[in-house]
């Protein structure tokens, strides 16, 4: 008996010792082989308030939830790809800090008298990262590729409007459109110029170049570890000069909770925050505030409630306006965004010239909502608390995708509609199913979605009556001949002031028609470690990201890269 017990104790000891071993071994492993300075305890001893002059060096680490599928932006398409590729490639033009178009690869450009031809003058002595000269041949080549039928890009339509493109000499690129096309310059600010000498014999859809690109911007790709990170390093031949930070490291961390933990442990330098992290967590955590600074800027998108205009009763403008009055937009901004957003009344960024300053969003007025609904025939005839017409209760489904803020917005809307007697149900769907099963075949009542606040005012593909086919963007089926004319005119008018008047008028009609309810435009919220200097605060219209090449990390704060994680 004693012997059995003794052996059992040995067994238990064995099992537990293994667990303990693992628990102890790991800290031993760390202390034995690394001089990691990644712990908060050590970090707290460093004073990040000292000021330092700009200097070169350091690595900026950020996190992405998704991984690019490739770095040729015209083919890859997803935001992770364009974000990284945007550091590697140049376009002809770019937007400056006040959101005005300025040259990137281009010095100056002229528009012909008939407004159909744009001549770009490239800067002299431009080079690719591999030291080859960058000339108008590369621009022409890129245009040919993006308009090539065989190239699998969804972005060709704008560039196909170019009737003729030529490169008369190494520094000149000329395009001629069939008709004046106002958004043209904006499109040239978004096309990454690709190297002809490396791609001319390649099939652009399958080339290994997409995973090992050569560009001309501040950085070049040093290493891409699938599923783990992408590292960009300084491009000595950068066309725009030299950035101050040596390396950019983007770690792929799909879970936002894990990202926040990494930020807290000082393993990443920057992260996009949600309103709760910005407004509630940071203020409550002095240890985080000590080392991390918060930045706020006007965001790039707006959230809206869209009606399926082909379904009754949403074809009745009174019903749409009623719902607009019934929704308390400030409550949505306060509840979902914790006050970190602004109401919008048009699809343009507030403060820019395209945004009509006279327009104000519909105020919260449930009585007016009820009156409008009554005029449209909706009243609570049977006393069940729900409005009805012709015996049918006013009930419908609100669809949205798996986005926390949209979900919460939907819930708030549901409640307010309930207050005036409309029974709305919310349904949250996975993205691909959402598009394939509901949006494309137009099988929906109402959606909560977002559009970007465009920099170029052209909204043709979203609001023009010709864009209603399945798969196109006017999926709410909006059709207004006056709006159609304005949108067409806006594309032809290159004079900014005249253009502005056109789009102000367009916004006014849109607001009256209320095919969608503008809900909110959230702020962009970012947390960046204090070691990164040179960030503009407050942010200019273009956001804090407009001058990332001027950011610097003083060497006193640089991480010890070998052991860092």
């Amino acid at each position: 008996m004693m012997q059995i017990k003794h052996n059992q104790y040995q067994l238990i000891k064995l099992a537990l010792s293994k667990l303990v071993f693992i628990a102890l071994f790991t800290p031993l492993m760390i202390t034995a082989c690394s001089d990691s300075s990644s712990s908060n305890q050590i970090n707290n001893k460093i004073d990040y308030t000292k000021s330092y002059p700009p200097s070169n060096g350091g690595t900026l680490i950020d996190a992405m939830t998704g991984e690019p599928s490739g770095l040729i932006a015209m083919i890859a398409g997803e935001s992770a790809a364009s974000a990284i590729a945007g550091n590697i490639f140049n376009s002809l033009l770019r937007y400056d800090k006040n959101l005005e178009l300025t040259g990137e690869l281009v010095d100056t450009w002229d528009v012909s008298k008939d407004q159909k031809t744009i001549t770009f003058h490239l800067k002299p002595n431009l080079k690719w990262a591999d030291n080859q000269p960058l000339t108008s041949d590369d621009v022409l080549f890129t245009w040919q590729k993006v308009t090539d039928e065989k190239t699998r890009t969804p972005y060709g339509s704008d560039f196909k409007l170019v009737m003729k493109a030529e490169a008369p000499d190494a520094n000149t690129f000329r395009v001629t459109y069939a008709a004046p096309y106002a958004p043209a310059l904006d499109t040239w600010a978004g096309l990454h110029i690709l190297p002809k000498h490396l791609l001319k014999d390649q099939d652009i859809n399958t080339t290994a170049f997409a995973r090992n690109p050569v560009g001309s911007h501040y950085y070049k790709l040093e290493k891409w570890k699938n599923g783990q990170f992408l590292k960009l390093t300084r491009n000595e031949n950068a066309t725009q000069g030299q950035a101050k930070i040596d390396n950019l490291l983007s770690r792929i961390i799909p879970d936002k909770a894990a990202q926040f933990l990494e930020l807290s442990a000082d393993n990443i330098d920057s992260m996009g925050l949600n309103p709760i992290q910005y407004a509630r967590i940071f203020p409550a955590r002095p240890d985080l505030n000590k080392n991390i600074a918060l930045y706020k800027e006007l965001g790039n998108s707006y959230t809206y409630l869209g009606f399926n205009l082909k379904r009754k009763p949403f074809d009745d403008v009174r019903v749409r306006q009623a719902i607009n009055y019934a929704i308390n937009k400030q409550e949505i901004i306060d509840g979902v965004l914790l006050g970190l957003g602004e109401p919008v009344a048009s699809p343009y960024k507030p403060g820019t010239r395209w945004s009509n300053p006279e327009l104000k969003p519909y105020p919260y007025d449930p009585n007016k909502a009820k009156a409008l609904l009554k005029a449209a025939g909706y009243e609570d005839h049977d006393g069940d608390g729900i409005l009805d017409k012709d015996g049918k209760p006013f009930t419908f489904e609100i669809l949205t995708n798996q986005n926390k803020e949209r979900e919460m917005t939907g819930v708030l809307i549901q409640r307010r509609l309930n207050d005036i007697g409309i029974k709305a149900n919310i349904r949250v769907l996975e993205w691909a199913s959402f598009l394939g099963r509901f949006i494309k075949p137009k099988e929906f009542d109402v959606v909560v979605l977002g559009w970007s606040l465009s920099l170029d005012p052209d909204q043709y593909s979203i609001w023009h009556s010709s864009q209603q086919a399945p798969g196109q963007f006017n999926f709410i089926s909006y059709s207004n001949p006056r709006v159609d004319k304005l949108l067409e005119a806006g594309r032809l008018e290159l004079n900014p002031d005249k253009r502005m008047k056109i789009y102000h008028e367009f916004s006014k009609i849109l607001l009256e028609d209320s095919p969608i309810v503008f809900l909110s435009a959230g702020y962009g919220l970012t947390a960046i470690h204090k070691r990164v200097r040179g960030i503009s605060n407050p942010a200019p219209p273009a956001g804090i990201g407009h001058n990332t090449y001027e950011w610097y990390i003083p060497s006193a704060y640089a991480r010890n890269e070998m052991s860092e994680h």
């Binding site: 012997q3 059995i4 052996n7 059992q8 067994l11 099992a15 293994k18 693992i22 790991t26 492993m29 760390i30 082989c33 990691s36 990644s38 712990s39 908060n40 305890q41 680490i61 599928s69 490739g70 398409g77 997803e78 039928e149 699998r152 969804p154 972005y155 060709g156 399958t206 080339t207 290994a208 995973r211 699938n226 599923g227 783990q228 490291l249 770690r251 792929i252 961390i253 799909p254 879970d255 909770a257 894990a258 933990l261 990494e262 807290s264 442990a265 393993n267 993205w431 691909a432 199913s433 598009l435 099963r437 559009w451 593909s461 979203i462 963007f473 890269e561 070998m562 052991s563 860092e564």
Partner: protein
């Protein structure tokens, strides 16, 4: 025995076809395809280009035709290229005309998942075995009850909750372990010892989380197996023969109690390639689970079918091996009826 083997292997082919057919159709049940997610809802992207893409990938053809095309490719063991990841090969690497090697997706994800699962299995066994034996030897007493409670708690904890708490404790509050990822940044510059340690450090939490759920099952299994064996006649015989208790327990009882464990191993072979989507997502580990989940969301059909096929093959082989190994190991079965 041979007849049995042949019959089972013969059955595998129609089974595989059946599984792949059903999987293929189920895959198409969920609405949307690669073109509905890629670059969609960017007003600059046009419908015609999406239509072209659909034609290129044969997505506009009837499902049965698409299945036929897939089978034709698989017959030459060509798993195809991914829709979503810029034509990366699904299974094994390819070399293009300039000598650039593109690594296969499964080729990269599978070893990671295998490593985690094997380590996890090793952890489970090394802890569950002694726990199970001790439980059995102390049936219904405090030790047994405590162990049972302990392993059940391990099973009942929601994995991602425990993961986040441990990540916070070991990574943020104290800098003992990395929080997420597979390797540290300067990994390539380390010598092989430091590299191994680095990878292991990153795997501690994921392996622990995976293991703690499986602990309950195996330790209870061992416990019950031991109990069943300990009450058999031959154990009493061995004791009465005067053999030491140690020899009785470990030499006879344990060995026989572990026989059913072989079945468990066989059945867990297909599980070895299945990564936990949740664990991989939280810990940012690019394994098979995440690969499959992303492929599902993106409707990346070649990748999905590739993973399902490998999984099905392994399941069938694993089942067969388990049955055969058990038949071989159990002398009663080996000599007598095999079915």
């Amino acid at each position: 025995m041979l007849k049995y083997l042949v019959k089972r292997i013969f059955w595998m082919v129609p089974l595989l076809i059946g599984i792949s057919l059903i999987s293929f159709f189920i895959m198409h049940l969920a609405p949307g395809d690669i073109t509905t997610s890629e670059a969609s809802f960017n007003p600059k992207a046009s419908e015609e280009s999406r239509q072209k893409l659909r034609e290129l990938y044969s997505l506009d053809k009837p499902v049965i035709v698409q299945y036929g095309l897939w089978v034709k490719r698989m017959a030459t063991l060509d798993f195809g290229t991914s829709f979503a990841s810029h034509q990366r090969p699904v299974f094994w690497q390819t070399k293009d005309k300039d000598g650039n090697v593109t690594l296969g997706m499964i080729q990269e994800a599978l070893p990671i998942t295998l490593l985690i699962n094997v380590l996890s299995l090793a952890l489970i066994i090394s802890v569950a075995l002694p726990l199970g034996v001790v439980s059995a030897l102390n049936q219904n007493q405090l030790t047994d009850r405590s162990i049972t409670l302990f392993v059940f708690i391990g099973f009942a904890i929601p994995g991602f909750w425990l993961a986040l708490m441990l990540m916070y404790w070991t990574g943020v509050q104290h800098a003992w372990l990395p929080i997420s990822g597979l390797q540290s940044i300067g990994h390539e510059n380390m010598n092989w010892l430091a590299q191994t340690t680095d990878t292991l450090k990153h795997l501690v939490l994921p392996v622990f989380i995976s293991g703690i759920t499986g602990l309950a099952g195996i330790s209870l299994f061992v416990r019950n197996g031991m109990l069943e064996v300990l009450h058999q006649d031959y154990i009493t015989t061995a004791r009465s023969k005067g053999l030491s208790e140690n020899r009785v327990i470990y030499g006879h009882a344990l060995r026989n109690a572990l026989l059913p464990l072989i079945t468990i191993f066989g059945l867990s072979i297909p599980g070895l390639i299945g990564g936990s989507v949740i664990a991989e997502s939280i810990f940012a580990i690019p394994g098979m689970g995440k690969l499959f989940y992303d492929a599902v969301l993106m409707r990346d059909f070649p990748v999905i079918m590739g993973i399902l096929t490998i999984g099905a093959v392994l399941t069938l082989i694993g089942n067969l091996l388990a049955d055969v190994a058990y038949a071989w190991a159990d002398p009663r079965v080996r000599r007598g009826v095999v079915q």
